[in-house]
Amino acid sequence: MNRRLLRTASAFVATLLVATACTSDSKPDKIVLLTHDSFALSEGTLEAFTEKTGVTVSVHTARDAGTMLNQAILTLDNPIADVIYGIDNAFLSRAIDAGLFIPYTAEAIDTVDPLLRVPGDIVTPINFGDVCVNYDIEGLDTLGIPAPQTLEDLLDPTYDGLLAVQDPATSSPGLAFLLATIVAFPEGTDYDWRAYWTDLFANGVVVTSDWSEAYYTRFTRAGGGQPLVVSYASSPPAEVFFGELSQAPTGVMTQGCFRQIEYAGILKGTEHESAARQLIDFLLSQSVQEDIPLNMFVYPANRDAALPEVFTLFATLPENPAVMAPDTIRENRERWIREWTAIARS
């Protein structure tokens, strides 16, 4: 009840703000959406926004989420875009600290799992996905060994030299997997993540600089030597979808996963705040949310959005993926990566 009241009140305030802002916030022809190279929607999706509002969306892409965030911070005084989409929980606190956003509570925010939301609705969750160890079913069969079930299993001599991970300093799934191990083996315990990684390196873990290198040069499915690779829980349905297969060639180890959440936010300094709000609402609307899975291979944040068949049939959503508060990540990320690098180089 209270919440509804709050929402009504905030909607009222918002209307007021829009009304006052409208004098300077004349309706633009075009707004700019800054995002990363993995952003994709079906053709015609963004055009629907234009039909509804009369505003064209110009999509500007950066090479990856880290580059995009740097670009937004560097242009804080004179922003190059109105809305930013694709900042994940590993970078979120840094972005908030830099004062990038104008908070906004999206119309459809109640359809979103409260766990994904950010206090004050500084940014709006749009999608999420889980980073998990994937295995090549045929590759393990050839070796005659079972799929690993837990992070501890990966230390077993059975899996000596069979796992490929990405460098957390250069790769976002690599960082997510490191965070998963930090949640599983917390600091201050007898056997912490540093001990775990020391053992993992002793068990011959292979490190690549990014996801593509791991999946396309190391993974046994690509002719490499490792049947285990850090990838996404949604990789098996993607394999099925792109390859038009009848069953998934890969499986997911559902323990030791890390949940990545991607957010959209209105950039401070925009001259088109009301159109920017409309765009955030649009991104969280059911039509866009249902378009997300087959274009970006992540899950929609809006729980009302129906999932495509390939997801319901072939995707495993891990039950208890590791989550970590953005503040904790911000405070420790640099130190963790440095310590990890020291272990890797020793």
Binding site: V32, L34, D37, S38, A40, S42, E43, T45, S58, V59, H60, T61, A62, R63, D64, G66, T67, L69, N70, Q71, I73, L74, T75, N78, I80, A81, R94, D167, P168, A169, T170, L175, V207, S209, W211, S212, E213, Y215, Y216, T217, R221, A222, G223, G224, G225, S235, A238, F241, F242, G243, L294, N295, M296, F297, R333, E334, I337, T341, A344, R345
Partner: protein, 551 residues
């Protein structure tokens, strides 16, 4: 030879004219290179307008970063020496002999230039990786990095030195031989000294490319092998430490600057005059020559051709098994299935448009810069030469972010599409200048004077004499500029761009999704990129046939 030195390198435009010729490329480089790079480094090095020296101490005392600096220099030196050694024999046969398939092979040498590292990497790993067919696993070693650098930079030596070499009169060497010198002696005492400017020029390019190597190091190196360039990127994206990244970028620039200055001093002394010949080289005349030509071609073919051949073969291996064109057809099918992928035609059109614009900008600025270099006073020329070369030694992150923080004045260009061909041109200009200026410096002054006595204005004389004489070099430079733009994925990937994906970006997106279908399509698109570049280079090369008026 000394008596001729006063006759070459004199400006045809007079003092004011030379200043005007230098001004255009100087302003271009000042606005699109110096200003952005200075702005971003200032931002990185200062907090609230104050320089923070602590960062420098952190870096200098970090043993990892010291190791990175040493490795960067070391691998660049080895890569340069080996690329020059591997390229010279091929430059020789391309300059001195005619053989079937020559223009095709010449064009093919440029193809590696445009290929994405991951795609080339898979071909290398198929040969010398953990499960390579040769049985030798070189992953994570210096060797595989150096081999990849030779593969990528081979064309710079073959084409750069080769073009220069074919214009050295072979009768000089023949004269020496008729006086009793052996082939080796004649080469060492006659040809090699004449070639020195071109060798110095091209090795500087190879060095800079290897020194700032990024993709090759990320893919084929391991966590123990990192370059300053990779470290700048790591500090920026992983730690968001612009201060450390900027300090490293400045250190990289200073290092590159010092090396270029040393080399500049050396090069200034080596410009020599030679006759311009345009007769077609002969077929190999005897068994010795035939053996030499074909064995060098065989080695070059293995070096460049084998990885390319593997890629072509892979592109024909269908995801569902069998041989065919499924990977090529999948490029279209995948686009229809998911918005994650780029329509191949769109990518090709975008790439070609950018490449043509970049080549035009690169050649225009490059020719003017070369003229400036040839005719300006030595001290000015040396500084200017440094400015022209520096973009090649600057980290892509620095240039990309520099555009972003600086180019909103006087007009906001930060998200303009024109920045993409301009970023490509910045990388291409040093190539254009390096291929043109050794030839331009050698144009004999009396030719122009003859034109002047016939009533031509200095500018007209320069246009008809000098430009005609170096037209081949201009085309070689233009081909480089075009190829660089087709394949460039460094600075451009750090520019925020309106969604206009090029072929390398389309390949990058395919490689970002799991499955043998996207991977196969990525290889197919790489092969298309290879052929499109090859054909374009063939066309550019074919323009260099000697015309009747050429001397």
């Amino acid at each position: 030879m000394d008596s001729n030195r006063s006759l070459i390198g004199r400006s045809p435009f007079g003092g004011a004219g030379t200043a005007a010729v230098v001004a255009v490329p100087a302003l271009f480089l000042a606005y699109f290179f110096l200003y952005p790079v200075a702005t971003i480094t200032y931002r990185g090095l200062t907090t609230d307008g104050r320089f923070n020296p602590a960062v420098l101490g952190d870096i200098l005392s970090d043993p990892t970063l010291q190791g990175v600096a040493a490795f960067t220099l070391w691998q660049a030196v080895i890569s340069t020496v080996l690329t020059v050694l591997a390229g010279l024999p091929a430059a020789w046969i391309f300059a001195r002999f005619d053989f079937p398939g020559k223009s095709l092979m010449r064009a093919a040498t440029l193809v590696p230039f445009v290929l994405p590292t991951l795609v080339v990497g898979t071909a290398f790993l198929a040969l010398i990786g953990p499960r390579g067919v040769t049985g030798v696993d070189l992953t994570g070693t210096l060797a595989i990095i150096v081999i990849a650098h030779v593969f990528y930079n081979y064309a710079i030596v073959v084409r750069g030195v080769g073009t220069y070499w074919e214009r050295i009169d072979p009768s000089l060497e023949e004269a020496a031989r008729s006086l009793g010198a052996s082939r080796t002696q004649a080469f060492r005492t006659i040809t090699l000294p004449l070639l020195r400017p071109a060798i110095a020029s091209t090795s500087a390019l190879v060095f800079l490319f290897s020194f700032t190597s990024f993709g090759v190091i990320l893919l084929l190196g391991d966590i123990h092998h990192s370059t300053i360039e990779v470290e700048i990127w790591r500090q920026t994206t992983a730690y968001l430490r612009l201060d450390i990244a900027s300090t490293l970028a400045v250190m990289q620039l200073i290092g590159v600057g010092l090396i270029l200055m040393l080399y500049g001093r050396y090069q200034m002394r080596t410009t020599v005059q030679f006759s311009h010949r345009a007769s077609l080289p002969p077929r190999p005349a005897n068994r010795h020559e035939r053996t030499a030509v074909w064995s060098i071609l065989g080695i070059s073919g293995a070096l460049v051709g084998l990885p390319l051949g593997i890629l072509i073969a892979r592109s024909m291996m269908q995801p569902q098994g069998g041989i065919g064109f499924a990977n090529y057809l999948n490029l279209f099918r995948l686009t229809a299935k998911s918005g994650a992928f780029v329509h191949p035609v769109e990518a090709i059109v975008n790439s070609l448009s950018f490449a043509v614009i970049a080549a035009v900008i690169g050649v225009t600025i490059g020719v003017l810069a070369s003229a400036g270099l040839s005719y300006a006073r030595p001290r000015v020329a040396r500084t200017f030469d440094l400015l022209v070369m520096l973009p090649l030694g600057t980290s892509a992150v620095t240039i990309g972010f520099g555009f972003l923080v600086a180019l909103d004045w006087p007009v906001d260009l930060r998200t303009s599409l024109i920045l993409i061909p301009i970023a490509h041109a910045l990388v291409a200009i040093p190539f254009v200048v390096r291929t043109i200026s050794p030839s331009m410096g050698s144009v004999q002054h009396h030719l122009r004077e003859a034109a002047a006595t016939l009533g031509a204005t200095p500018a007209k004389a320069w246009w008809t004499i000098d430009l005609r004489l170096v037209s081949r070099s201009i085309l070689v430079g233009g081909a480089f500029a075009f190829a660089i733009s087709m394949g460039e994925f460094g600075a451009t990937s750090f520019i925020t761009r309106p969604d206009t994906p090029t072929i390398p970006i389309a390949i990058f997106r395919l490689l970002g999704h799991p499955g043998s279908t996207p991977f196969g399509a990525a290889v197919a698109l790489s092969v298309l990129l290879m052929f499109i570049t090859g054909i374009a280079v063939l066309i550019i090369d074919s323009l260099r046939r000697p015309t009747a008026g050429e001397l």
